[in-house]
Symmetry: C2
Subunit: 279 residues, 2 copies
């Protein structure tokens, strides 16, 4: 379920129609078109309808949940347009085999975004760092966006594009120590805000990041309504979500599995960070 | 990031190769194929590799995050195959405009599943209840699956197919009161297990549901490693995730928005529940 039912959940796609219907209502028209029911928004605070342009980058082998947590929150922003942006319109396969069709290519993505959001991954994130077209896209949109955001190792990609130089930031706990390669100051926190950079920790931190941004773009009452619609009152069945609370064996296992990735990410990231300056 | 990096995160798709590589390693072979690195799993408990068949239903205007929380958790089950199943192979658009390509059609979905998982939605969930092909698919796979599961209003769809008759269950908080229409006993809890039925509350409860199932299918240590990879130590920026903690205005707003849906769902659900018996 989404905050705004289909009509309003899809507000980003149909905002002109909603605006027209709202105007019609304000002008005394009896109702909107019968196939597009619009709820009575007359009691809605004026600041609750927006017109933000939001782009979530996807790339081959990205981690889908990194993107989908924020996507849920953003698409509950009435009036906003949330695009899934990739290099081309070709379907993109996530690291877990999910196939998504982008809604906009790099070329079609507006130059001035309210939010640029970059999900992480492992091998796919390295490939994205090696790709100058992706780095150029990030540098161009990230240099102008109102908020530049990431989830998980998406911050390595932001960093590689030069967008975290001098900023405090976070990443997946296994990858946070790499941030200084990009001039960033690593912070052990779930969501880190430094000026207009919002970075989230691993995977599920995207929910907290997304909801934080909803609060920043609207107000607390709006964000609370979105949280209630998402029934976001988490009850993890175990207490192993951080290396501080997880059994040492789990931490050691994942650190071991990540060794190769981190070695490669350091090398690939350094190269990308230098190349990106000239892009 | 996923627990198992691409190679193991995709274990469901490449388990024969992993098994072959593991065998080769056990037989003294030096390594797996160079384009498919397999980590040293020699220290892995024997029960950690599985071969489950998991199907997540999607349908037009489903809520993507309902499906993607469990999807993340399930795709970290090494050796398991997680399919995104829809009526046909045509791309399916979520209630928030996300376009996913199914990996299997109803006809291709194995008859004996380890997990059947059904996400919710609002208008799309009503349309799915009206569709006898979908009800027949749910009845057929749900009647044989090892675990029959849902997130959010997905439980209404399970209920309409007759799969919750006599079971304790939950749903999105706004929709829980409808469960008796399907013979189910509503329970106010994040994840409700009754025999082999696992139902989750609204949207984000899919993360808790998915992780609970990972624990049920493997063991606690495995589930804790998945939780740590997901960095699932949530810190919602507000405390409005339930009607008990949210501001009364937010609760009233959403209850008002859901009135039409619930009236329609009661009618459509009753009809479906009766029709499904004869399917």
């Amino acid at each position: 379920m989404a905050l705004t039912r289909r009509d309003l959940a899809l507000a980003g796609l149909i905002s002109p129609l909603i605006a027209a219907a709202s105007n019609a209502r304000a002008n005394g028209a009896s109702d909107s078109a019968p196939d597009l029911p619009v709820h009575d928004m007359s009691g809605m605070p004026p600041g609750w309808m927006g017109s933000e342009k939001i782009a979530i980058l996807i790339y081959p082998e990205f981690t889908a949940l990194d993107a989908l947590g924020p996507h849920y929150m953003f698409t509950n922003l009435m009036g906003a347009t949330t695009m899934i942006v990739a290099k081309t319109h070709d379907p993109v396969t996530s690291d877990a085999g999910l196939v998504l069709t982008p809604s906009a290519s790099f070329d079609e993505c507006p130059e001035d975004l309210d939010i640029l959001c970059v999900p992480g991954g492992s091998r796919g994130t390295l490939a994205a760092m090696r790709d100058d077209v992706t780095l150029r896209f990030l540098k161009s949109r990230g240099g102008r966006a109102r908020y530049v955001t990431s989830v998980c190792t998406g911050s390595l990609l932001l960093g590689a594009a030069g967008l975290l130089d001098g900023y405090r930031a976070t990443s997946h706990w296994t990858a946070r120590a790499l941030l200084p390669e990009f001039g960033a100051i690593p912070v052990d926190a779930r969501v880190v805000r430094d000026r207009n950079r919002f970075t989230g920790a691993g995977v599920t931190a995207g929910l907290d990041l997304g909801l934080t941004l909803v609060g920043a773009l609207r107000d607390r009452a709006y964000a609370e309504a979105v949280q209630l619609m998402a029934e976001y009152a988490p009850q993890p069945p175990f207490d192993a979500g951080t290396p501080q609370t997880a059994p040492p064996e789990a931490t050691a296992l994942l650190e071991g599995m990540m060794t190769d990735f981190l070695t490669e990410a350091t090398k690939v990231g350094r190269d990308a960070f230098i190349r990106a300056r000239a892009l």
